[in-house]
């Protein structure tokens, strides 16, 4: 599928493919309807619950130099020291950026303009190595006025057993000073399919709160407050989780095989209540994005199938064999077969239907990747018939 190279000016123009596994199974009908994101007003009904990931996106790509002056790009993976022993668990430290320590992936020469897999490996760095990062503005990559920025420094605390590219990094600054330095030195993580350098505001959802995500929780980019408030007025509840969405690619096959790494999440008490209320009313729980789904299902899995409020980490990989405990449907971007995100969707619909949906969408010009179009995988309700009638009238 062709990737979207740039954020859409009008999120309302996002196309929405409704994939209806129940219709597909019961009647042998295709169970695919081509629409727009605003059709959520018809596809969701009173009593349903939409759960978004409210993590803001960090400027997680930092350009630095080693002690020997060798350039290296660091992409933050998640806050906290964890994972250094290769146990797959992220350490959850304080709110303040893990006491200044983060897990990070190292990249060699070049930048986002090359495909990550085409970039040379990063210099081999050991524990104790100091890295210095310059402010993004000083490199002339930003439109902002040149500001004097103090260089940000960090020390490699440890190297992960899974890959020499995965390290634990501790910054010298703390608190507000660290955040200021990170925002000055960092840029959004982006990939070779994008057209130009992205600004930080282009990778934020309309409800972005704590900066936990190192890549945008992109399914939510299609949601405007016009649409969300309208859904609320129609009786669709909206709740949130915070999930530290991680890197989708490091360019290192061995390390990529471990993705997604364990990521921290938080489920607020209000969301647990909202899920219970939706269940009571016969409503359906729809996760916005794979990260929201992983937080909800990962949390339930950690608590014997019950959703419990609180913070934790999850390395859960959803897949075909996965029995879902919380989430009934998912609003997601378009993912290509063979990717880990596509495998995740097999938890919501059979592979054959997903392949058919992908071909159907590609044929109709849907766009893929984080700024692309959307897909709702959710069993049919009576409301959707009106939409289908409308579509067939338009076709006739």
């Amino acid at each position: 599928m062709k990737p979207a190279a740039w954020p859409r000016g009008d999120p309302g123009a996002t196309r929405l493919l409704h994939v209806d596994p129940a219709a597909h199974e019961s009647s042998g009908r295709r169970g695919l309807v081509d629409g727009r994101i605003g059709d959520l007003r018809l596809l969701l009904r009173e009593g349903d619950l939409l759960v978004v990931n409210d993590a803001a996106t960090l400027p997680a790509s930092l350009r630095g130099v080693t002690e020997a002056g060798v350039p290296v790009e660091v992409r933050l993976v998640g806050s906290g020291r964890g994972g250094a022993a290769g146990d797959g668990e992220a350490g959850v430290d304080d709110e303040d950026g893990g006491g200044g320590c983060w897990r990070a992936a190292l990249f060699g020469a070049g930048d986002w303009r090359q495909r990550t897999e085409d970039r040379p490996p990063p210099p081999a760095l050991g524990a104790g190595e100091e890295l210095r990062f310059e402010a993004a503005v000083a490199r002339g990559e930003d439109d902002g006025p040149g500001r004097p920025g103090r260089p940000l420094r960090a020390t490699i605390a440890s190297v992960d057993a899974r890959s020499p590219r995965l390290v634990s990094l501790c910054f010298a600054a703390r608190g507000a000073a660290l955040w200021r330095a990170l925002y000055r030195a960092g840029r959004p993580v982006q990939y070779a399919h994008t057209a130009r350098p992205l600004a930080l505001w282009q990778v934020q959802t309309a409800y972005a709160a704590r900066p936990w995500a190192v890549e945008a929780p992109s399914a939510g980019l299609a949601l405007s407050w016009e649409l969300l408030l309208d859904l609320r007025r129609r009786g669709v509840a909206i709740a949130r989780v915070t999930h530290a969405a991680g890197l989708s690619s490091t360019g290192d096959g061995e390390l990529d095989a471990h993705l997604p790494l364990a990521e921290r999440y938080e489920v607020p008490a209000a969301t647990v209540l909202a899920v219970a209320a939706a269940r009571r009313r016969g409503g359906r729980v729809v996760a916005v994005g794979t990260t929201a789904a992983r937080a909800l299902e990962g949390d339930a899995r950690s608590h014997r199938g019950r959703l419990v409020a609180g913070a934790g980490t999850t390395g859960l990989r959803l897949g075909p064999a996965m029995r879902r405990r919380v989430v009934d449907g998912i609003l997601t971007g378009m993912h290509d077969p063979g990717t880990s995100h596509f495998a995740l969707l097999e938890s919501f619909a059979p592979r054959a239907l997903l392949l058919e949906a992908h071909a159907f969408a590609a044929e109709r010009g849907y766009l893929g990747h984080e700024f692309g179009d959307a897909m709702l995988i959710l069993d049919n309700g009576p409301e959707v018939r009106a939409l289908r009638r409308r579509a067939s009238t338009a076709a006739a």
Binding site: D142, G144, R180, L200, P211
Partner: protein, 241 residues
């Protein structure tokens, strides 16, 4: 609303009304993200609050700069968890000494609008989203008498504050019933550095102390009965019983 334990972001917090409000809210147990350009003055305000056992984070940034909006809101959310109250207090007076519009450089007017109107709009836009998700939040706009009355030589500032008032009313109208509330306050004439810059010959004894106005503002923030979209005058405010 009991302010104790709540996350509050105040712009222009290094001096005058902003610094005084920070002190008052900190005494009431609020957790503060303080924003200003001047690193040293802001650090002193935050340091004094921390020394007294309060929580205050000094976020050095320019409210008028587009690329500093997410650095401000991201740091505040990371450090406070939730920003539940946003106080737009930072202001740019424009050309000093105050000038006739005919003598005001276009760039000076642009800077005033950037700090007093566009900056608050961007910050609200970035922080109202999470407030809407939580169905709870308050945004306070510090306005001025110059937004309503017409004073020669106050054109840039007055126009910006009139625009800010209207922005506040429109936010309130659009998001009425969502749990996110808005109001504006005319603090009146205060004995501050800004007032001295604008009117160096004023009789300072006739001016309100920023600490008194800050106490009233803190009462307003705590008063959930203030109608959404209201514009209040500190001079006319009496404490709720």
């Amino acid at each position: 609303m009991d302010i104790h334990g709540r996350g509050v972001l105040i712009t222009g917090a290094s001096r005058g009304l902003g610094a005084a409000l920070a002190q008052v809210l900190a005494r009431q147990g609020a957790r503060l993200a303080l924003v200003a350009r001047g690193e040293q003055a802001l650090g002193e305000v935050a340091g004094a609050i921390r020394a007294a056992g309060g929580e205050a984070h000094a976020i050095v940034a320019d409210v008028g700069a587009k690329d500093e909006v997410y650095p401000i809101t991201g740091a505040a959310a990371a450090l406070l968890g939730e920003v539940e109250v946003l106080v737009h207090n930072a202001s740019d007076l424009g050309p000093v000494p105050l000038a006739l519009l005919a003598d005001t450089a276009c760039e000076e007017l642009e800077r005033v609008l950037a700090v007093n109107v566009v900056g608050p709009f961007r910050l609200t836009k970035a922080l109202a989203g999470p407030m809407l998700l939580r169905q709870r939040g308050l945004v306070v706009h510090v306005s001025s008498d110059a937004a309503v009355a017409t004073y020669p030589r106050w054109g840039a500032y007055g126009a910006s504050k009139a625009a800010l008032d209207h922005l506040a009313r429109t936010w309130a109208a659009e998001l009425d019933g969502t749990g996110v509330r808005f109001f504006g306050v005319d603090p009146g004439e205060m004995d501050t550095a800004m007032h001295a810059a604008a009117m160096p010959d004023a009789d300072r004894r006739s001016l309100a102390r920023p600490e008194e106005v800050a106490c009233k503002l803190a009462q307003m923030i705590g008063d959930d009965t203030i109608p959404n979209g209201a514009r209040l005058e500190a001079a006319a405010w009496t404490a709720p019983r």
